[in-house]
Symmetry: C2
Subunit: 599 residues, 2 copies
């Protein structure tokens, strides 16, 4: 069975040393965050996930979920018990508001649990993950009655929740949805239609599931401006909070998928199901975006998580499997062959993986802090800055994070050679599971357009200017540590390529918006390299300072410096090529007529 160990030491580095969470203790919501508390949460989360959740990852892949003749759905062996322990441990409540039974901790803390869960068992993690999205929407857009009725049991984990957007004929283009919502005399709506790809759509983990469903009311505009959001419980909830009748929603089938078999991806049939409007009519898309932004960050974290899980197993094999000899002569002459890790090409893959993982974990931790600061920072300027930056980088964390998660999973499978292709060894599951993260919650091409087509231009480009300035300032303050200086020099160049690309978009996208569309993807990748580079510069400074001060963890900090240098040597050089791809524009991409593609 694949190994999985919570990377607690690195997490503590991120929380305590990189973002120094304790330094925000004066802000609302951060008061209780002592190093003792965060370290305890990290260790306990690592222990729980490692002991209870991780061992079910391969079981879930092998067994999948089952829809029974009566329409009920059961999850793989062990999932129900693990979920019970998850709820009993209070894990769902970490960052939920205290008003509804949550612990009100910063997202920078709950992110840790999210990473560990998605890393150890992505399919399992999606059950509470989707519920979190549903909670977010009700928190922001639900009426006080709705909040009181649904949130406490969702926050506690007693009930789960889902997001119902996609229909057979539409995914990205939600303006096309056909599910109808007919107003009823009692103020509710009768929801009728079919939704597909509904993750965690039904299951046996909880006695109720609160579905959030996009539908159209009679006479609503045809576009995405005519979509409303509804709460549709699987089991109706009486006014006293007790469960009532089963609602008219059923599972048509469970999809057969490439991966994440342990999650029940359902076709949901709504057949006049009772639903209640969330927020205003025709404003459903905005409400949905609240949960989507959280979900997109969550999916980016899945990319990180799958990379971490695959890396641990790639590394274990590289240390254990003996094949061939080091190019510089036998490393272990007394053995018949050296371990794989002596080979530079194996190390290339391991170092690429380790460097991506470290950079992305830092970016996600720092990003989670921005989510908190967007609400809790002292000044409007600080709140706006945090909101700008996390808004800009959400599609990057999702798109670049999951592209690289898949690449790392593929590379780590490659380290295993032929044995990586054998299902029992589990390396292919990392690839198959990681693959969906590039697709769902907005395919990565949609993320790229969200970044280049929407986030860049918002507020006159304020957010990207903040990122430029942040990187410039960080490079200028690199100090005289040689590694930090090196990384700063490369990062400044990457920032230059990023600026030039934005300039090129400004000069060329007005005349032809296809130039934006054609360059959006390499621009997302470039921004991913720049923002993880920013993190490596900061980490290099922290690590150099720790070593200068003296530490009994020399190998840990030296590994940080080695990865920072590896970012400079192997990631930074890609920036120039990406800029040139962007500047190539739409010309060759739009040259052919659709028919000529088959020529």
């Amino acid at each position: 069975m694949p190994v999985w160990n919570a990377p607690t030491r690195d997490t503590r580095f991120m929380i305590n040393e990189l973002i120094d969470l304790q330094s925000y203790a004066h802000l609302p919501g951060f008061a209780s965050v002592s190093t003792d508390l965060t370290d305890a949460v990290i260790e306990e989360a690592g222990r729980f996930v490692g002991e209870v959740v991780a061992p079910l990852n391969q079981v879930g892949d092998r067994e999948g979920c089952t829809r029974h003749a009566d329409g009920s759905v059961t999850t793989p062996t062990g999932f129900k018990d693990a979920y019970r322990q998850y709820v009993e441990g209070g894990w769902p409540t970490l960052s939920a508001p205290e008003q509804f039974g949550g612990q009100g901790l910063p997202h920078a803390i709950s992110f840790v649990l999210e990473e560990y869960m998605g890393s150890a068992n992505q399919a399992f993690a999606m059950y509470p993950g989707l519920a979190n999205g549903a909670i977010s929407s009700i928190l922001v857009k639900g009426s006080p009655d709705q909040q009181a009725k649904y949130l406490p049991k969702m926050v506690s984990g007693e009930w789960l929740g889902t997001m119902n957007l996609t229909e057979p004929h539409c995914g990205t283009d939600l303006g096309l949805i056909r599910t109808r919502a007919e107003p009823q005399a009692d103020g509710s709506y009768a929801i009728t239609g079919t939704k597909i790809f509904i993750s965690a759509g039904d299951n046996d983990l909880t006695e109720n599931i609160i579905h959030l469903v996009l539908a159209k009311t009679p006479g609503a505009p045809e576009s995405s401006k005519g979509i409303s959001l509804f709460i549709v419980p699987k089991v109706l909830v009486n006014d006293d909070g007790s469960l009532g009748d089963r609602n008219a929603v059923s599972v048509g089938s469970i999809e057969h998928k490439m991966g994440i078999h342990g999650n029940a991806t359902c076709v949901m049939n709504y057949d006049g199901a009772k639903g209640w409007l969330v927020g205003e009519e025709n404003k459903g898309l905005a409400a949905m975006f609240i949960m989507m932004n959280a979900a997109r960050l969550g999916v980016g974290i899945q990319g990180l998580g799958q990379a971490e899980a695959a890396y641990q197993n790639g590394l274990a094999y590289a240390l254990e499997r003996r094949q061939g000899r080091a190019l510089t002569g036998p490393a272990e002459p007394q053995q018949k062959a050296d371990p794989l890790i002596v080979h530079p090409d194996v190390r290339r893959m391991l170092m690429d993986a380790k460097t991506f993982i470290g950079g992305m974990r830092a970016l996600c931790t720092w990003g989670a802090l921005q989510v908190d600061l967007a609400h809790a920072a002292e000044t409007e300027e600080e709140r706006q800055a945090a909101d700008d930056l996390i808004g800009l980088l959400t599609p990057v964390i999702k798109g670049y994070g999951t592209d690289m998660g898949y690449k790392v999973a593929t590379d780590m499978q490659q380290v295993w050679g032929g044995h990586g292709y054998i299902i029992e060894n589990g390396m292919d599951q990392f690839v198959r599971d990681a693959r969906i993260a590039m697709i769902y919650e907005g395919a990565n091409g949609v993320q790229a357009m969200d970044l280049a087509g929407r986030k860049l231009a918002m507020n006159g480009g304020r957010a990207i200017q903040r990122l430029f300035a942040l990187i410039d300032a960080e490079c200028a303050a690199a100090g005289d540590d040689p590694v930090a200086t090196l990384v700063a020099e490369k990062l400044a160049r990457v920032n230059g390529e990023l600026k030039a690309s934005v300039m090129w978009f400004m000069q060329n996208a007005m005349t032809n918006p296809n130039n934006l569309g054609a360059g959006a993807y390499p621009f997302m990748t470039l921004t991913g390299i720049a923002s993880t580079g920013l993190m490596w510069l900061r980490m290099a400074k922290v690590a150099a300072a720790a070593l200068a001060k003296g530490t009994d963890e020399v190998p840990f900090y030296e590994a940080k410096l080695a990865c920072a240098r590896h970012w400079a040597a192997r990631f930074a050089p890609q920036a120039g090529a990406l800029r040139r791809e962007i500047e190539a524009g739409a010309d060759t991409i739009m040259a052919l007529s659709p028919e000529a593609f088959a020529a």
Copy 2:
């Protein structure tokens, strides 16, 4: 069910227009190659594969192979009948020597069938594919008696063949094998040991299978210099050619794999099985390399084939699925949404795919011609040049070809969005099947080392100097067509990066061979970009000439020019980044101690 259509028009372009096969008619073995013949083979191969082999691709994935209680193995529904038709059609015999019942056609022709088969159904294609490897070895290294005994029925397809190299503890490092061969009084050997990952190891397609097995004779050196190659038939063959007793070889199990389910990947147990030495004792590795070189080209072609198959289905979906609107305003305002192909990011993936496919098909066709010319060209200089070039480019075709095959399969799955993740749609099979091609017949990292560590230095760098000169000459002769001029300009720059990289290796690998190992992989990618760029320059010239001359296939030739420009816009720019990665050397890659990777 996924579509698959033989790309016959493009194949005819490659054979008749790009390499102009007819111009070699004066050489031995090429005499019969008229345009009529090649066009007929292309059309018939396309028809046969499209009608008989392609429809079984998904069936094979779904059913897999079965090992029964008696140890026998059956292939998926339809495979046996399709193989019968394959044999009856004479398809196995295309490029085999006439002496053993073959048609003696150039490899440039048999490559077409190989591409179509691997594209339409990789798992099925592997049955005759492995037999071809076995045939090559017996042709070159077998005794006249062995050739007479085994080759006629292998060439006809009546018997299949396999390659048995890997053991549980060794794959790349064959010096470690443990299978023993004990000499017997009758001149045969008793073979005992376990082989794993044996593709097509057993099956119900033929009444006999000729296994080629690597084993060690008593007292043989411990390294790869102590390996011998043996013929071990599944069923012993009597002197009169009739079948005798079952040999002591059995299938322990069929591996559970990520993909290529339709091929029986077997654990083979040899239990004192009767075998006969092929060639000299302890010279088995050299004999094995003969089949491996052919097999490596074949695997590169699988990368091309999976890319083609995935592209056809990605394109079909992009033309049919409607989602969103063109950035420049509705393309089809009367519809509720535009087809996916209006979106630049979707086209980016399609153009990348089409450009890779065209460049790689050209490279493989030209490469197959070099295989022929290495034997058939008039002068020793020409034969040597062809041999040098195909030797150099074999690891590139295998490594770059399969990396890109996987990337294209992944991109085309991405075009399908969530529907690409659903097994019934077949897009995930392209990804899962394409994945193995990066691993088997020498993992791509091994290919990179074969290129950079072995092929570069052979004969004082003669082969790479030939490639440099070929590209330089082609760029100098670009003529004045604007597309050819543009491509030549970019290609010259790519060649410059390639030359600089080789120079860097020369200056830095002697002092530290890890610098070679660390740069081998980006060097392989860079060589892949350069060599497909060379092909695009040639194709641009051919297409421009055809358009200038006048043609009723304007869209076909214009598409060639568009792809050539796309290579220049989007592939060529990567060269600089790859060179910088190479020049970064082993420093950051070898910085950490093995233990520190877990820090």
